[in-house]
């Protein structure tokens, strides 16, 4: 079984729109949305939830005012300034390290684990989708990414599906690192803008760090032909396959408004052919 992870570095280059398009072209795959703190793939997939599960995060310190003698040790120990002078813990600032819990001389600090989000196994018109929702302002996004990827893999195994298509988060930090490890290949969706190129280069550095092969797709390529040309040259130099180029096209937005993939919205014509060709190229490189 293979897993294709779609990433971009910079947000808004078209990861999710292209993931959805590929989903409609692929056969026998499982979809996975690993952008757990701003998941959008379900907006095009209209999923019917089959199973809903809680995602439990780490503990958060809670001081019992009955037991607390206000000795101040927890305030001194906490490196995250999460405990106020009134001995109340700010749940947002609390890192969940438990140092205050273990070292409180009165054992006045409780450490309940709390629900940090939810994850779902759903059915869509293009096959199964594993997706999640991290609670607002929560930590542990990397852990939830790892969880949805594991569940997608498990489900693919039981259903004899040979490909997982994973829509990844932007950036290069915690949730992206959790998306990259163990992937068969990364599809990096970039755009010919100075920020698109800058962020793509950092992402490719990360891919190299984790020894996952990358391929490149240039979206909105006609926005800046010069930068597109230098991107193509860069990819040739680095031996990164370019699977294709997609023109800037307002139909990506109109199809999104209708909750359709671009392949469904524009089933004929150049754009569909270009995307089909890109998908075929990706499959060859996988």
């Amino acid at each position: 079984m293979k897993e294709l992870v779609i990433l971009s570095g910079k947000g808004g280059t078209g990861k999710t729109s292209l993931t959805a398009a590929f989903a409609s072209l692929s056969e026998n795959s499982v979809l996975c949305d690993a952008d757990v703190d701003a998941a959008d793939l379900h907006l095009l997939m209209n999923p019917g939830v089959i199973r809903r599960s809680d995602f439990m995060g780490g503990g958060v310190a809670v001081i019992d005012p009955e037991k607390c003698t206000q000795c101040g040790q927890c305030i001194d120990l906490c490196r995250f300034d999460a405990i106020s002078q009134h001995f109340e813990v700010d749940a947002i600032d609390c890192e969940g390290c438990g140092v205050c819990v273990d070292l409180c001389p009165e054992q006045a600090i409780d450490f309940p684990t709390k629900k940090c989000g939810e994850w779902f196994l759903s059915d869509t018109r293009f096959g199964p989708l594993v997706h999640a929702r991290l609670g607002i302002a929560e930590e542990n996004s990397g852990k939830l990414v790892t969880l949805v990827r594991q569940e997608a893999k498990k489900f693919a195994e039981t259903q004899n599906r040979d490909l997982i298509i994973t829509d990844g988060p932007p950036g290069v930090g915690c949730p992206v690192i959790a998306s990259v490890g163990g992937a068969s290949a990364l599809l990096v969706v970039t755009e010919p803008t100075v920020s698109g190129v800058h962020d793509m280069q950092r992402l490719l550095e990360l891919a190299q760090h984790f020894k996952v092969p990358g391929m490149l797709c240039i979206n909105k390529f006609d926005l800046n032909p010069n930068i597109t040309a230098s991107l193509e040259e860069f990819a040739r130099d680095k031996n990164i396959p370019i699977v294709g180029k997609v023109p800037f096209d307002r139909r990506f937005t109109t199809s999104m408004v209708q909750g359709k993939t671009i392949v469904e919205y524009a089933p004929n014509g150049q754009l569909r052919l270009a995307i089909e060709q890109i998908w075929n190229n990706i499959c060859q490189h996988l």
Binding site: A38, F80, C97, V172, V194, L206, V257, G259
Partner: protein
């Protein structure tokens, strides 16, 4: 005053708004790029970097000679940084959250702290605009400590504009918390609206006044405006899609450079925010 520019969804135009706002204010203003995973503001402001330093976070270093394998450090660590395998103690400092617990509980004083590099902090000037950003080391997972380091550059006597990362989880909170106003940048599409709603929930949690900029205002549909009305979120600016803006952006040029008529509009946006902040404080 601190204004943070956030969005939920990536690629809606946070950096565009933050940089154009800074340039339109002109002086007495500082731009702090807190999108440390993918900082982009420097590509538009092109600052002259005058100072660069490596930022690191404390992680344990274990003196195996002194260690008695008592396991106290293993037990206190919630992040599984330290493990004992047979008669060997192992540390995985890349997982460390720098709480210092292991060092405190070690009865043998076998644990000291060394640094794990988080990334770079760079500061400089772009004309009269003060500039600072963090660049997370590629391979480093934890961005909030570096974001906090960038935030420590805030100067209360001037206007500080924070370019926040996308999303709604801990890095965004680190960039938005304790700011005076959140300027939320969205696009009127289903993805833009969905992620905007999540980001607005986060702002409510932090209890910060908030206003909206709708970028590429003539694409998509009207749902975002209906949402804004229902939530009582003021729409402070709408920028239509303009291929000239998109092409200028692709080359690292700002809206106010190619369409100077936008400069007074950004200045008016700033004045509006200033007014809201002075009323709410």
């Amino acid at each position: 005053m601190i204004i943070s520019v956030a969005s939920g969804k990536g690629g809606t135009g946070k950096t565009t708004i933050a940089t154009n706002l800074a340039v339109s204010i002109g002086s007495g203003v500082q731009l702090l790029d807190c999108d440390v995973e993918e900082p982009n503001a420097h590509l538009f402001l092109k600052p002259e970097i005058q100072h660069a330093e490596t930022v690191s976070t404390p992680v344990p270093e274990i003196d195996k000679q002194k260690c008695s394998l008592c396991r106290k450090c293993v037990d206190i660590c919630r992040f599984k940084v330290i493990a004992i395998a047979g008669q060997t103690i192992l540390a995985f400092p890349e997982l460390c959250h720098s709480c210092g617990g292991c060092m405190i509980v070690c009865p043998e004083e076998a644990i000291s702290e060394t640094g794990r590099e988080l990334g770079m902090l760079e500061t400089g000037m772009s004309n009269a605009i003060e500039f600072g950003h963090g660049r997370l080391r590629v391979g480093e997972a934890m961005s909030p400590p570096l974001i906090n380091k960038v935030r420590s550059l805030v100067k209360p006597e001037i206007v500080n504009i924070i370019d926040a990362p996308p999303g709604t989880s801990c890095p965004v909170i680190a960039a938005m918390k304790a700011t005076d106003f959140v300027l939320m940048v969205t696009e009127p599409t289903p993805f833009g609206l969905h992620d905007l709603k999540l980001a607005v929930e986060a702002v409510k949690l932090l209890n910060i006044p908030c206003g909206l900029v709708i970028n590429r205002a003539d694409i998509g549909n009207d749902d975002v405006r209906q949402y804004a009305q229902a939530e009582n979120l003021p729409i402070l600016m709408e920028i239509p899609f303009d291929r000239k803006i998109a092409e200028a952006y692709s080359e690292g040029r700002m809206i106010v450079e190619v369409l100077p008529e936008w400069r007074p509009k950004f200045f008016a946006l700033f004045n509006h925010i200033k007014q809201v902040v002075s009323q709410s404080s």
